[in-house]
């Protein structure tokens, strides 16, 4: 009887599979998905022209900027073709204003923020999760820095989750998180976290709550999101900031 089951299973699987007609394979689409340029063998041939273009850009723009700056700061009547005034001190007005000078609000406190899962989805073998932090107070507050995430078990013990705190602008500045800034009253702040899905052989641990410790120490808790339980492999964690809506 076992042999009969095996034969029938093999026949049914082959027949079912024969009815599945995949579209033609497209390796270029896979490369695009992988985030690498389409290329021939030794796919970093794009590097040389990019490097040359960057060098030319720097070589052209730096002298222009230096000359422009010297002309702007040169005393009246000294002419535009004076030698580069490298010894002239930069005027104080050219320095960037600090946040406090621009009326930066105080850092967000735990009582001002209500956390929730804003977005989730899969990309390139990872589960991407955006945790939203809505400012429920009547005042703007400042949100910045990479938070620390902790799993809180039902018994109350706390485990710091092993995310990689990413400073890579390509990661931390992904939509909808716009980097550090003020979150207006009623508006959303957010930060991004990812879980590795492919090549992960660790089972997800079970937590009751997620504790979010902001960079300045404010601590907020929320029910542990299911999206962070899809695997046991923690990925990147980006900085918090106001979110575009």
């Amino acid at each position: 009887m076992t042999q009969e089951v095996e034969q029938q299973l093999e026949r049914v699987l082959q027949a079912t599979a024969a009815n599945i007609q995949p579209p033609p394979p497209d390796p270029d689409a896979v490369r695009a998905l992988a985030g690498r340029p389409t290329g021939r063998d030794g796919s970093r041939r794009w590097l040389a022209p990019v490097a040359v273009a960057a060098a030319v850009l720097v070589a052209v723009t730096v002298p222009i900027l230096v000359v422009h700056r010297n002309q702007a700061h040169a005393p009246a009547g000294s002419g535009g073709n004076s030698s580069p005034a490298t010894t002239q001190p930069a005027p104080s007005s050219s320095t960037s204003p600090t946040p406090s000078e621009t009326g930066r609000p105080a850092n967000c406190t735990a009582a001002q923020l209500r956390p929730s899962v804003l977005q989730s989805g899969t990309a390139q073998g990872t589960e991407q999760v955006v945790i939203g932090l809505r400012n429920i107070s009547a005042a703007s507050c400042w949100l910045s820095g990479v938070p620390t995430l902790q799993g809180v078990t039902a018994a109350g013990s706390t485990v710091t989750l092993a995310f990689t705190r990413s400073a890579d602008p390509a990661y931390v500045r992904q939509s909808p998180v716009a980097g550090p800034g003020a979150v207006s009253a009623g508006a959303l702040g957010a930060f991004r976290a990812s879980m590795q899905l492919n090549f992960c052989d660790r089972a997800a641990a079970s937590y009751a709550r997620l504790a979010i410790q902001l960079a300045d120490g404010a601590r907020i808790e929320m029910p542990y999101p299911a999206e962070l339980s899809v695997s046991g492999c923690f990925g990147d964690l980006g900085q918090a900031g106001p979110a575009s809506q």
């Binding site: 299973l9 689409a29 896979v30 899969t122």
Partner: protein
């Protein structure tokens, strides 16, 4: 300077630097594996569109490590495992979506002639296969559709050979019960 080697010994060739795989190798492997891997993923997920996505994701992950790979058989084995992992991820996402986002599952639409092509017994067998545990289903599909040996299944699923055997035996036993009930 004297040669320290004994007389008559052959000078060994310098160790050959293993060549990395090229993009052409990737194209070749991807094209040769695409159909079979989509079909395996579709049998596991029962959804062809999700299967195509999963296989693309898996090969994208393979491509990200492609230029550090040394041999094609190893890369093929790696790709097979990546496809299984991607289908597991797709399956988990579907479960998560159904449980937490309150979404309705998009069922695959069968072909118009599917009813004619399958007997009642075949349909019952496929339904029983879908009801097995993920591991049992993976083992049976890799064994009876892909034709992999126990040792290849063991490597692909990253599980001991004994576990592969027990999953196969239990899965087949469950299917046998269904077949007997349908007689």
């Amino acid at each position: 300077m004297t040669d320290p080697r004994p007389p008559g010994s052959v000078r060994p060739n310098p160790p050959a630097q293993p060549a990395t795989l090229t993009d052409s190798d990737f194209d070749l492997m991807f094209r040769s594996m695409w159909d079979s891997q989509v079909r395996i993923a579709a049998l596991l997920l029962r959804n062809t569109a999700a299967a195509e996505d999963a296989v693309q994701q898996a090969f994208a992950a393979v491509y990200r490590r492609w230029h550090s790979m040394r041999d094609l058989p190893g890369a093929q084995a790696y790709a097979r495992t990546a496809v299984i992992n991607a289908t597991r991820s797709a399956h988990r996402r579907e479960l998560t979506g159904r449980r937490f986002l309150n979404r309705t599952r998009v069922e695959p639409v069968p072909a118009a002639d599917a009813e004619l092509l399958q007997s009642e017994a075949d349909r019952a067998l496929l339904a029983a296969l879908a009801g097995l545990s993920n591991s049992q289903r993976e083992v049976l599909i890799l064994r009876y559709y892909a034709g992999l040996s126990e040792i290849d299944i063991s490597q692909t699923l990253n599980m001991p050979r004994g576990t592969v055997k027990s999953h196969a035996a239990r899965g087949l036993a469950a299917l046998r019960k269904v077949m007997e009930a349908n007689r």
